[in-house]
């Protein structure tokens, strides 16, 4: 019998405790949480009260090292293709054209002074596929591929999720391709000619030697 009354008593007491807690929160509803980010020194001094942030207008700020939308500083990209190989889900696609020797100056250098040896006409990142793991960023030798703290980049059309970073237009790329082909053909011809010349020289030398 005492258990029976004890049950009723603990029931009443714990229910009252719970109701006290919810009521405390109800009256605390005049306060609202601020929208300081976690990197703000006052972060834990502004978390009391209603914690909703109304998203499009208020948002929890992303810290500066936030790892969201990928971005490629194509000026610094040397077209090495490490990121393409490292990506576990192959969301980066890349095409490169070798820079012809006379174009090396036009193609320029990276910000830390490294000569770029490839045109990158296609550098597409499908950010819809990207799982922001950061592996591509870690392998990038020039640190041109970075995750930016921009976390909201929704689109209505899925094709807009493919970001193009290439530094040549299609026409330019075709021109460069032709030029490269010419240069290569030229080089091949010269090489051939040189080889032939060397052969004839050698033959002549042999002949003259006889």
């Amino acid at each position: 019998m005492s258990e029976y009354f004890n049950n009723i008593k603990t029931g009443a007491v714990t229910i009252a405790t719970g109701m006290g807690i919810t009521l405390k929160h109800f009256f605390n509803a005049v306060k609202r949480k601020g929208d300081a980010g976690i990197d703000d020194a006052d972060y834990f001094r502004q978390v009391d009260g209603l914690c909703t942030l109304q998203y499009p207008r208020e948002a929890i700020p992303t810290p500066v090292n936030g790892r969201y939308r990928l971005h490629n500083n194509i000026e610094d990209c040397i077209g090495c293709g490490q990121c393409v190989r490292a990506c576990p889900i192959s969301c980066i696609s890349m095409e490169t054209i070798k820079v012809t020797p006379d174009d090396l100056a036009v193609c320029g250098k990276t910000s830390d002074g490294q000569q770029k040896k490839f045109w990158v006409p296609v550098f597409d990142i499908d950010v819809a596929k990207c799982m922001t793991c950061g592996i591509c960023v870690s392998v990038c030798p020039t640190e041109c591929l970075v995750h930016t703290p921009v976390s909201d980049f929704s689109e209505f059309d899925r094709s807009n999720m493919i970001y193009h970073f290439g530094n040549l237009t299609r026409l330019e790329a075709e021109a460069k391709q032709r030029k490269l082909a010419e240069v290569q053909a030229q080089a091949a011809k010269e090489k051939q000619a040189a080889a032939a010349k060397a052969a004839t020289d050698k033959a002549q030398a042999e002949n003259s030697g006889q």
Binding site: G18, H25, F26, A29
Partner: protein, 372 residues
């Protein structure tokens, strides 16, 4: 403090002194053969339910729950989200009215109707003000207890007609629960009726009138009245399927219980019925134990607070505020407590509430006889 010792108080406002002046006047209003007044009388509670469900019931509950949970609640539609409920209604109106192919069409359609009618019929005997009552019955309280049982039929029809296992579970649970909790609820109300010596709701209110405001309420007239008051409050939670007794619609167990298959306006009607009965039980609680439309403020010498805050309009204000207060407590409980299990629910009803209700009944009788 004897009941008869309280003088008939005057109702200084508007329409004379007699009880039910407004409703009597309205009842006499006919245009040729058409009993327009009766229609208006019937429409007033209906409009009231709709308005209150729209404002306090849905919006209020959402906001209250949000504040208790450190959230903001609806904020987008209108300032502070005030128009959110309207948006919801519009959405529900536009929705396709689906009747599942394998459902029993008649029961499926009729269920929400019965449910709503059940809770709405009880409003007929609720005195909304000293001057207004839908139907002044001398067995008002008895009628209110009885008519609510019709809801059970509606729930069973909805649950069985849906031809869904979850709905059936919900319906069966609900029926078992409501029928069981009728007993402690009725006995608890009987204590109030015993103190008043009548079942007429207006008379019960009248007996709790007096210049000392709240001191005349049954809850403060006798300490024993607290017991039936608490019992009825707990039982009323179960009767309206509110948490912690919301097992018929237990979201995490039965998806949505007996209204799993309902969409659109039928769903809205079920919702309306639920909010209707929430107010109904709160109002009965207020009438029987807390003086109904009487002002709780006492006359303090020259400050005649009671007299200033009495009258038909004030009466309506008081009873609605008291009802709303209890609805707030219902919401408060709902957003605090977990849900009971079926057998625990029955345990509470049969082994705790019912014996205590009987004890309260006997004690009240003794109090009424031996305490002047």
């Amino acid at each position: 403090m004897s009941v008869s010792a309280i003088p008939q108080i005057s109702l200084p406002f508007l329409m004379g002194n007699s009880l039910n002046a407004w409703s009597d006047a309205l009842a006499g209003l006919t245009i040729s053969w058409f009993p327009l007044g009766l229609v208006i009388i019937a429409a007033i509670p209906l409009v009231f339910i709709a308005l209150y469900a729209l404002t306090y019931g849905v919006y209020g509950e959402r906001k209250i729950s949000a504040f208790m949970q450190d959230r903001l609640g609806p904020m987008e539609v209108g300032k502070w989200g005030i128009l959110q409920t309207l948006a919801d209604i519009l959405k529900l109106l536009q929705k396709e009215d689906i009747v599942p192919a394998s459902a029993d069409k008649f029961l499926f359609v009729v269920g929400p109707g019965i449910l709503f009618v059940g809770s709405f019929l009880a409003f007929a005997v609720l005195p909304f003000s000293p001057a207004f009552i839908g139907a002044s019955l001398n067995v008002g309280l008895f009628y209110a207890i009885g008519i609510v049982a019709i809801e059970v039929v509606g729930i069973l029809a909805a649950g069985w007609g849906s031809n869904n296992k979850w709905s059936l579970y919900g319906a069966v649970r609900s029926v078992a629960q409501i029928v069981s909790y009728e007993i402690p609820a009725s006995i608890a109300l009987l204590c109030g009726a015993m103190m008043a010596g009548t079942l007429d709701m207006q008379q019960i209110n009248l007996h709790q009138s007096g210049p000392y405001g709240f001191a005349h309420f049954y809850l403060f007239q006798s300490p024993i009245a607290w017991l039936p008051f608490l019992i009825y409050f707990i039982a009323s939670l179960a009767e309206t399927n509110r948490a912690p007794f919301d097992i018929p619609e237990a979201e995490s167990e039965l998806v949505a219980g007996y209204f799993t298959e309902y969409t659109g306006m039928k769903f809205a009607v079920i919702f309306l019925a639920e909010y209707g009965s929430m107010f109904m039980v709160s109002a009965i609680l207020a009438i029987v134990f807390l003086g109904g439309w009487n002002s709780p403020l006492p006359n303090l010498g020259a400050l005649a607070l009671y007299d200033w805050t009495s009258g038909p309009v004030w009466g309506a204000f008081w009873i609605i505020s008291k009802g709303f207060f209890f609805i707030f407590v219902q919401m408060w409980l709902r957003w605090t407590l977990p849900r009971l299990r079926v057998d625990q629910l029955m345990y509470l009803c049969w082994k705790v509430l019912t014996p205590f209700a009987f004890i309260a009944f006997v004690l009240t009788a003794i109090w009424e006889i031996y305490v002047p």
